[in-house]
């Protein structure tokens, strides 16, 4: 199979991680899908970027994150929660620098967090056993999931509308001068970009709210999702 594009930072990180896992005494293995526990509504399976087995035959699944300044995204938080119900499997996120928000959100989700240092060794920042009681967060997580669907619908509608505008602006301006035509086209592209950036920002905030366990945070975000992009366009 040809692999799709992978972030070059992640490719370099993958090589260093393989050495660090080996140095830690774990046996690297081919990545194999691990089914979610019964009752899980998540689609797919636990795969990770790397997998290894320890002396007790416990499978360690590693997800590599070259950028670590944002909260743990919800898809990884969901996996961390699900893995807690799978016997003999542990899930870790690996970064090269640790941010407070990532550490906090990993702890809240039950994801282990490893920092790969300059010497190619892992420092355990959050161990899997350190996770807070996830059960109390289920209600917040469900609310965040519902809000995320709302965000996606809003985003889809607006992005589709801008794409339609783009198609019609290209047609409608075909007879205009180059500079005038480009001005209209770029304006629609800018509007589209604003919605995309807003979507990314709101998604990161939802990730953080899911980990915070606070219904107040979710309510505040709901207002922002309802408002959408506030500036003109």
């Amino acid at each position: 199979m040809t692999r799709p594009y992978e972030d070059p930072l992640k490719i370099k990180m993958r090589e260093r991680c393989e050495i660090a896992i080996d140095a830690a005494g774990y046996q690297l293995r081919d990545v194999a899908p691990i089914p979610y526990p019964p009752g899980s509504t998540l689609k797919g399976s636990v795969v990770g970027d790397l997998q290894a087995v320890d002396a007790d035959n416990v499978v360690h699944v590693y997800y590599l994150r070259p950028a670590a300044s944002k909260p743990l995204p919800q898809w990884l938080g969901n996996i961390a929660l699900a893995v807690r119900r799978i016997e003999r499997v542990k899930m870790y996120v690996i970064v090269e620098t640790v941010s407070a928000v990532l550490e906090r959100t990993c702890r809240a989700s039950g994801a282990g967090l490893l920092c790969l240092d300059d010497n190619g060794r892992f420092e355990i920042v959050v161990d899997v056993g350190d996770a807070e009681d996830a059960a109390v967060r289920e209600q917040v997580r469900a609310a965040v999931t519902a809000l995320r669907r709302k965000l996606e619908i809003k985003l889809d509608l607006n992005v589709d509308q801008k794409k339609t505008s783009f198609a019609s602006v290209v047609r409608a301006t075909s007879g205009m001068s180059e500079s005038k035509r480009d001005g209209y086209v770029k304006d629609v592209e800018r509007q589209l970009e604003r919605w995309r950036d807003w979507g990314q920002d709101m998604s990161a905030r939802l990730d953080e709210a899911a980990a915070s366990g606070s219904m107040d945070d979710v309510s505040a975000l709901e207002t922002l999702v309802d408002q959408g992009v506030l500036s003109k366009g």
């Binding site: 199979m1 040809t2 799709p4 594009y5 972030d7 070059p8 930072l9 992640k10 899908p33 691990i34 509504t41 998540l42 689609k43 797919g44 399976s45 636990v46 795969v47 994150r65 070259p66 950028a67 944002k70 995204p73 919800q74 898809w75 969901n78 996996i79 999931t145 995320r148 669907r149 996606e152 801008k162 794409k163 783009f166 198609a167 290209v170 180059e178 035509r181 480009d182 086209v185 770029k186 629609v188 592209e189 589209l192 970009e193 995309r196 979507g199 990314q200 998604s203 990161a204 990730d207």
Partner: protein, 316 residues
């Protein structure tokens, strides 16, 4: 074998990258929203694929690389696909441009590389025609073509950083557009420089200034165009300009702004002043002497008069 025009499900590992797909540069973080959505609700919008004519039971991706990438990371067993007829290479490329009407994920370097292919396959180099075929603006077509004229090494440097956020990029597309414009200007204006240095060398030396953190902004190269104007107006001796420019090419620490400030800034400012004074003089000539002037205009003109008397040394 899947029927053309049908929606079906295939394993993600049955998919191959499109050979004519412009190289896409994904910022890993920007896929997080999509991954969460796919994990929670699944892939609802089918990917567009066609059967691989060279390998049984394989499909080539036409649209949906982000969904494919996410499905693989999420360990999905199958994904829905719409199977279309295998297109010809030109059709394939144009369809990509049309599918991604707004090329939100395509950095200029990707657009440029694809456009180069379109141009070759369609045997078409006219800007207007390429813009019509692809839906790109003419200025994007022009900028892409300029980017394609860069030495291969520099193009590769741009590509290796294209997945990074703009703030993290050293070898930015706009840097090279500025460098190329500056290099071309110097080569046309001063054939002596063209004879002394290879084009690729000058571009490399200019890029090094950015790599070494010597530039305040990528637009600093525009100072060279101002310098050229002063040489054309005989305000700065040509030989002096060439000496300074050669120093700038040879020494990575010497910036375009430093050269401009050193030999041409004073003359350039006077040249600009002269143009502006001419424009003001024309405007003043057009004023009716009997017309009542707005107080704010009167006050501005008085201030101008005061400054003129000061600069010309006229006693009050």
């Amino acid at each position: 074998m899947a029927d053309v025009g049908t929606t079906t499900s295939i394993r993600p590992d049955q998919l191959k990258k499109n050979p004519n797909n412009p190289r896409r540069f994904f910022n890993d973080e920007r896929l997080d929203l999509l991954r969460t959505s796919l994990q929670e609700v699944g892939v609802l919008v089918p990917l567009i694929v066609y059967e691989d004519p060279s390998e049984d039971d394989k499909f080539v991706l036409m649209d949906g690389e982000r969904r494919w990438l996410s499905a693989l990371q999420l360990g999905m067993e199958t994904i829905p696909v719409n199977v279309i007829e295998a297109p010809g290479p030109l059709q394939n490329l144009l369809r990509m441009f049309n599918i991604h009407a707004v090329r939100e994920d395509w950095p200029l370097v990707s657009i440029a590389l694809s456009l180069g292919e379109v141009s070759k396959l369609a045997n078409e180099s006219r800007e207007s025609r390429l813009a019509e075929m692809t839906g790109l603006t003419r200025s994007t077509v022009r900028r892409s073509k300029r980017l394609l004229q860069l030495p291969q090494r520099e193009l590769e440097l741009i590509q290796t950083e294209a997945h990074l956020d703009r703030a993290q990029q050293v070898h930015r597309e706009d840097l090279y557009l500025e460098i190329q414009a500056a290099e071309s200007l110097l080569r046309n204006e001063f054939p002596e420089i063209g004879r002394a240095y290879r084009r690729a060398h000058v571009i490399r030396q200019f890029a090094r200034k950015r790599e070494e953190g010597r530039l305040r902004a990528v637009t600093e190269f525009r100072d060279l165009s101002k310098l050229v104007k002063t040489v054309r107006a005989n305000l700065v001796p040509r030989r002096k300009a060439i000496r300074a420019l050669r120093r700038m090419i040879d020494d990575v620490d010497v910036t375009p702004s430093a050269v401009f400030e050193e030999i041409a800034a004073g003359a350039y400012r006077q040249q600009e002043l002269s143009k502006k004074v001419s424009a003001i003089t024309e405007l003043l000539r057009g004023l009716d002497a009997r017309a009542a002037l707005d107080p704010s205009v009167k006050s501005a003109l008085r201030r101008l008069l005061g400054e003129l008397m000061r600069v010309l040394g006229v006693p009050k």
